[in-house]
C-alpha cells in the first residue's frame, strides 16, 4: 500500500518563498510586494536621492541571490532589509572614497556620514555615535519595523546578539539625549 502524506500536512511555501524559488519572472512579484518598504527604509538611512538608486541595487542583488533565500521564513522583507543594510554600509564605503573630494572641498562632512543629517540634530548625533553594528540592528527594528527575530534573520546573527545590540543602542541613545526620549 502506498504511503501518502495528507495534503494539509505538506509545508506550503509563502508567496515570497514560492516566487523566489520559481521562474525568474516571478521575482517581479517580490519587487511589487516589498519595493516601497525597502526604498522607504533606505530613504531614511541615506536620503531619497541615493535611496532610489540603492533600492534598485538591493533588488538586483536579491534577484541574483534569490536561490539563497531561506524558504522557512514567511516574508522576504527581513532578508531584503538585510541586503539593504549591507548595501548602505558598502555604499558609504564606496562613497567615502569616491566623493572624498566632496568632503574636502565642500566640507559638509562625508556625504551621508551615517544617517541623514537633516532631521533632529541631537538624534542624528546620537545615532552617528553608535557602533555601526548596533545602529544597523536598532534602525532595522525602529525604521524597518522588524521584530527582533526578523532583525536576526536580516543580519544573520543570533537573536541574543540582536537583543544586546538593540539594548545597547537604546541605552546609549537615551544617555545621549539626556534620558528625555
Amino acid at each position: 500500500m502506498a504511503v501518502t502524506i495528507p495534503i494539509d500536512a505538506a509545508p506550503v511555501p509563502s508567496p515570497d518563498a514560492a516566487d523566489l524559488a520559481g521562474p525568474p519572472q516571478r521575482f517581479h512579484a517580490v519587487v511589487d510586494r516589498h519595493f516601497d518598504a525597502v526604498a522607504g527604509f533606505l530613504a531614511r538611512r541615506v536620503g531619497p536621492d541615493t535611496a532610489e538608486d540603492l533600492a534598485q541595487e538591493v533588488f538586483v542583488t536579491a534577484f541574483r541571490k534569490r536561490g539563497k533565500f531561506d524558504a522557512r521564513y514567511e516574508s522576504a522583507r527581513p532578508w531584503l532589509l538585510g541586503i539593504a543594510t549591507r548595501a548602505v554600509a558598502s555604499h558609504r564605503r564606496a562613497e567615502r572614497r569616491q566623493l572624498q573630494l566632496y568632503q574636502r572641498v565642500v566640507n559638509e562632512g562625508a556625504p551621508a556620514e551615517h544617517v541623514r543629517a537633516d532631521f533632529d540634530p541631537d538624534l542624528f548625533a546620537g545615532l552617528t555615535a553608535l557602533a555601526r553594528r548596533d545602529r544597523d540592528a536598532f534602525l532595522l527594528h525602529v525604521w524597518g519595523d522588524l521584530a527582533y527575530e526578523d532583525v536576526a534573520h536580516a543580519l544573520d546573527i543570533p537573536l541574543g546578539t540582536v537583543r544586546s545590540r538593540i539594548h545597547r543602542a537604546r541605552r546609549q541613545l537615551t544617555a545621549h539625549l539626556g534620558g528625555a526620549r
Binding site: R44, P48, E52, Q56, V60, A89, V105
Partner: protein, 288 residues
C-alpha cells in the same frame, strides 16, 4: 524631518527596478567588452619587428599587451613649467554617467608660487570660491587631510607600504586590500588638484602593473571623447560591492584622464570622474 520618497519617485524607481530585473532575466551577467585586440595588435607588431631585427640573432618572444605591460610602459610627462602670469589649471568633474545631474565640478588654478584660486560647484550651484588651499584648512576637527599624491614615495617597497596603508584606511574590515582597493587609491591621480609628479605616476603605474587581476580594457575614449588606454579591476558581482573600476590614461602623455565606476555586472558605467588640465593665463579660464 525624516526623508521620504514621493509616490512619483517610488513609482519611477520601482519601474526601473523591474526593467533591470528584466535585463537580468534576458541577458544574465553581461560583461564589459574588452578592447584588447587593437592594442595587442600594435604591440605584437612592434615586438615582431624587434624579433626580425634582433642583432643577437636570438629571437625573443613577442610580448602581448597586457595590463602589466601597458602600465609599465606609460611614460608620464612632467608637469608644466609656469611662466609669469600663467596658471596650472585643473578641472575635476564627478558626475553620474546617466541623467542630467551636473554633479561635482572642482576647479583649481595654481601659479608658480602655488597661489591661485579654487572653486567648487555642486549640482550647478557655486558652493565655494576661495584662494587656493583654503578648503584644506576648513576640515572638521579631527578630520585628517587627504595625503597628497606628491607625498608618495617612489621606492617600490616604500610605495607598496604606503599604498597598502591608504587602502587599509578605507576598508571597513581588516582584510588585505584587493586590487580594486588599490586602483581606488590610485584614483587620486585623477583628482589631484596640483598634478601628480611624473615620477610618482610612473611608480604607481609600476605598482599597479604587478597586482593580480588587473585587466587591460584597451583603447577607449573617455567621457569627453579623448582617446585613452584603460585598465580595470572588478569587484564581486554578486554584491553591492561589485563595483568595477576603470582608470583611463592618455597613452601619449602618460597622464590620467578619467576614472569610471561600474555598477551592476560591471557592465554599465555609473560614476565618472573626469580630469582636464592645462596652462592658462588667468583664474577664470578653464583648461581645454
Amino acid at each position: 524631518m525624516i526623508d521620504t520618497l514621493t509616490d512619483e519617485q517610488l513609482a519611477s524607481a520601482r519601474a526601473r527596478t523591474h526593467e533591470r530585473v528584466n535585463d537580468l532575466i534576458v541577458t544574465p551577467r553581461p560583461r564589459r567588452s574588452r578592447k584588447l585586440p587593437a592594442l595587442a595588435l600594435v604591440t605584437t607588431a612592434a615586438a615582431a619587428a624587434a624579433v626580425a631585427f634582433a642583432p643577437s640573432g636570438a629571437p625573443t618572444r613577442p610580448e602581448i599587451a597586457t595590463a602589466k605591460t601597458v602600465l609599465r610602459d606609460f611614460q608620464p610627462q612632467p608637469l608644466p613649467t609656469l611662466g609669469a602670469g600663467e596658471y596650472y589649471a585643473v578641472r575635476v568633474v564627478q558626475r553620474k554617467a546617466k541623467g542630467d545631474d551636473e554633479g561635482l565640478d572642482l576647479r583649481y588654478w595654481a601659479n608658480a608660487d602655488d597661489k591661485g584660486r579654487e572653486v567648487a560647484i555642486l549640482h550647478g550651484k557655486l558652493r565655494t570660491d576661495d584662494p587656493l588651499g583654503a578648503a584644506a584648512k576648513r576640515l572638521p576637527p579631527g578630520a585628517k587631510p587627504l595625503p597628497a599624491m606628491s607625498e608618495l614615495p617612489t621606492e617600490p617597497k616604500a610605495l607598496a607600504a604606503e599604498l597598502r596603508e591608504r587602502a587599509m584606511g578605507v576598508r571597513l574590515d581588516k582584510r588585505e586590500p584587493t586590487t580594486r582597493d588599490y586602483v581606488l587609491v590610485a584614483m587620486q591621480m585623477v583628482t589631484d588638484e596640483r598634478g601628480t609628479p611624473p615620477e610618482v605616476l610612473r611608480a604607481v603605474f609600476s605598482f599597479l602593473s604587478g597586482l593580480p587581476g588587473m585587466q587591460l580594457v584597451g583603447n577607449v575614449t573617455d567621457p569627453l571623447g579623448r582617446p585613452g588606454v584603460a585598465v580595470a579591476a572588478d569587484g564581486d558581482q554578486d554584491s553591492h560591492e561589485g563595483i568595477g573600476v576603470e582608470l583611463i590614461v592618455n597613452p601619449e602623455t602618460g597622464r590620467p584622464l578619467a576614472f569610471i565606476h561600474y555598477r551592476d555586472d560591471v557592465s554599465k558605467p555609473w560614476l565618472q570622474t573626469i580630469r582636464t588640465e592645462g596652462v592658462v593665463k588667468d583664474t577664470e579660464t578653464l583648461p581645454g
